[in-house]
């Protein structure tokens, strides 16, 4: 197991949520990417630093079946497949860069803060906080 920096563009947020819920344990996992605090070249992005099995890239290349918890068929398996098709893994010694049509899954990547620096993502100014 190791931590993997993941970057999801706004157009693929639903697909990414259905993918992670298909690998997860309850409908609550559909809420994984609701917060898109970063921007680059006009696209919003959400990130995560998730503990993943060492064979994650290989496992994600296989067809994913509807999980046992989804007895009410809440998951859209077409979205799951769409997310799988959009996954971008790093080539050796390369930094996989965010794009509006890619879900970056940086196996072997650095900490999430270092990954955000490498991706060139900028925090969208927030309204809250000390005025």
């Amino acid at each position: 197991m190791h931590f993997v920096p993941i970057c999801v563009p706004e157009p693929l947020t639903d697909a990414a949520n259905h993918l992670i819920a298909a690998l997860g344990e309850s409908p609550a996992d559909l809420l994984t990417w609701g917060h898109l605090p970063f921007t680059k070249d006009g696209t919003l992005y959400g990130t995560r630093w998730l503990l993943c099995p060492d064979n994650a890239e290989e496992a994600l290349a296989q067809p994913i079946l509807r999980p046992e918890w989804d007895t009410e068929e809440l998951l859209d398996m077409a979205l799951v497949a769409q997310a799988q098709a959009a996954l971008l893994f790093p080539a050796e010694d390369e930094t996989p860069m965010p794009a509006p049509d890619k879900i970056v899954f940086w196996c072997g990547g650095p900490s999430i803060d270092a990954a955000i620096d490498a991706w060139g993502l900028e925090l969208v100014p927030q309204e809250e906080g000390l005025a």
């Binding site: 609550a28 996992d29 990130t47 650095p110 900490s111 925090l123 809250e128 906080g129 000390l130």
Partner: protein
């Protein structure tokens, strides 16, 4: 086993709250790891019971949480113990109110971390996780030589790997195995960083080796190498030698450590090398070894462990929620042992309601910043009776560890009396956004830990212990006692 009773920083020698434990009171039968844990747990229970008897004696609403594997669980039912470095779905409330924290979304669950008292020095992430191929990749081929991990272990408390190198090098340089990029750490000009490890040829023909060395890479983010300092000169005669490299930054903003081996080119290589006790620290020399098993698991021999919940701010949002708490009073006290890791955004540590800015009868304790304004990198308190007030302390830039005490009394008429903030036991002079917080009681809301409503203002840092109590104002003695209790849960020195 070492005589841990003679370890001066162990909790046996720090009796608190009339817990009379001294060396002569102990039977030597307790001098082994499980006994240490039992007694530490017993002391913790006594201390916690003392706090409960003091501030929750009349069933005051709220919660008391201390972060440790004993009270953290991996499932929302609170049945499967959480593991170090794993996620936490349930934290038990020890106040007796049943206000346990939960998080249903897997990816939003905080991570349970462990570090030694005194904090982390060894930044060679995962260097002690010698069977984890993320940190010690195998096999790998570079410049004509294949590197295979053939053995791992621990000796003298320091973890080691053995790599066998086989092939005919096309270029002399190769790697000694550790995934250097994972040790990348923010740093500042003028800082001195030292990498060190014990290197030894344990099998094969050492004559093929030109040199083995530790290297410090000075970089600018994200990955531009500005310079490298190497600690050369390690003999290859079969003895174990400590290789050390130190570098003072002149222009970079991050550093990392690596270990490399240079072969004599042109001839076949078949040699096995041991790397033991890899350490990377901001210091001019090597200090006592810390075993770094990963980003959230570092231990040190002779030092007690402290546990925390990690949340990664906007980049890696993790948070929890309690059931609805019905205060029935206009007074509340919040005590938190926390470490903030970033000043890039406002981060809620604990809040009542979905928006204390806008909902009456609510509070927030937060790490605060205004983007682009370094003067606002601080800790803050928010109170709203019927009017929103926010008070910020002086500058405390991340990383910063504090015992925070937020004391609320809406009945008062001026902000400075309505919302008091103490940092490490010292009351702060706050700049408030409005003259007072209005009127009324605290109202019934869930408490959010680590976020605002689970949708924004994600805290980037570590939570060691957190108490929220709705009830009459505490005496100065009671406040100081709770602050000392919170301080005892935190890894870095506070009070």
């Amino acid at each position: 086993m070492p005589d841990e009773l003679n370890t001066p920083n162990h909790r046996y020698y720090q009796p608190r709250y009339n817990i009379a434990l001294a060396k002569e009171d102990m039977s030597k039968q307790f001098i082994f790891a499980s006994g240490i844990r039992k007694i530490d747990s017993w002391i913790d229970q006594l201390e916690t019971q003392g706090i409960l008897n003091s501030i929750f004696a009349n069933n005051e609403p709220g919660f008391l949480t201390t972060i440790s594997p004993e009270f953290c669980f991996a499932d929302t039912a609170g049945t499967t113990p959480a593991t170090i470095g794993g996620t936490v779905a349930y934290v038990a409330d020890r106040s007796g109110n049943g206000n346990h924290w939960t998080q249903a979304t897997s990816a939003s669950r905080p991570i349970l971390g462990r570090k030694p008292v005194g904090g982390i020095r060894n930044r060679a992430t995962g260097a002690a996780a010698v069977t984890n191929t993320t940190y010690w990749p195998t096999p790998a081929t570079s410049n004509g030589v294949t590197r295979t991990l053939v053995a791992t272990g621990v000796d003298g408390g320091e973890y080691w790997v053995e790599y066998r190198f086989q092939g005919t090098p096309t270029i002399s340089s190769n790697f000694l195995g550790y995934a250097s990029l994972l040790s990348r750490t923010p740093a500042a000009i003028g800082q001195t960083w030292t990498g060190s490890a014990r290197l030894q040829v344990v099998a094969g023909d050492a004559s093929s080796i030109n040199v083995m060395r530790i290297q410090i890479f000075e970089e600018t983010a994200p990955s531009t190498v500005l310079g490298i300092t190497s600690g050369d000169g390690v003999p290859t005669d079969g003895t174990e030698n400590l290789a050390i490299a130190s570098r003072t930054l002149t222009a970079g903003d991050q550093v990392r450590v690596g270990a490399s081996i240079l072969f004599n080119t042109g001839a076949a290589v078949d040699v096995t090398v041991r790397v033991r006790g890899l350490q990377f620290e901001q210091a001019a020399t090597r200090s006592a070894y810390q075993a770094n098993f990963g980003p959230f698991d570092i231990t040190e021999a002779g030092k007690a462990n402290r546990h925390y919940l990690y949340g990664g701010g906007s980049a890696d949002p993790r948070w929890m929620i309690t059931p609805t708490i019905t205060p029935g009073t206009d007074k509340a006290q919040v005590f938190a042992g926390v470490r903030k890791l970033s000043d890039s955004a406002f981060g809620a540590i604990v809040e009542s309601s979905t928006s204390p800015d806008a909902t009456n009868g609510a509070f927030s304790v937060a790490s605060s910043t205004a983007q682009g304004d370094a003067s606002r990198r601080t800790w803050a308190t928010v109170l709203r009776g019927t009017t929103f007030i926010l008070g910020g302390a002086a500058i405390y830039q991340a990383p910063d560890t504090r015992v925070l005490s937020a004391l609320y009394d809406i009945e008062q008429s001026a902000a400075a009396q309505e919302a008091v903030l103490r940092l490490n036991g010292v009351q702060q002079t706050l700049n408030f956004s409005a003259p007072n917080a209005g009127t009324g009681d605290f109202l019934a809301y869930p408490a959010y830990i680590g976020a605002r409503a689970g949708t924004s203002l994600f805290f980037n840092g570590e939570i060691y212990s957190l108490i929220t109590r709705f009830g009459p104002n505490l005496t100065a003695t009671e406040i100081e006692r709770v602050e000392r209790y919170i301080a005892s849960q935190v890894a870095e020195e506070t009070i």
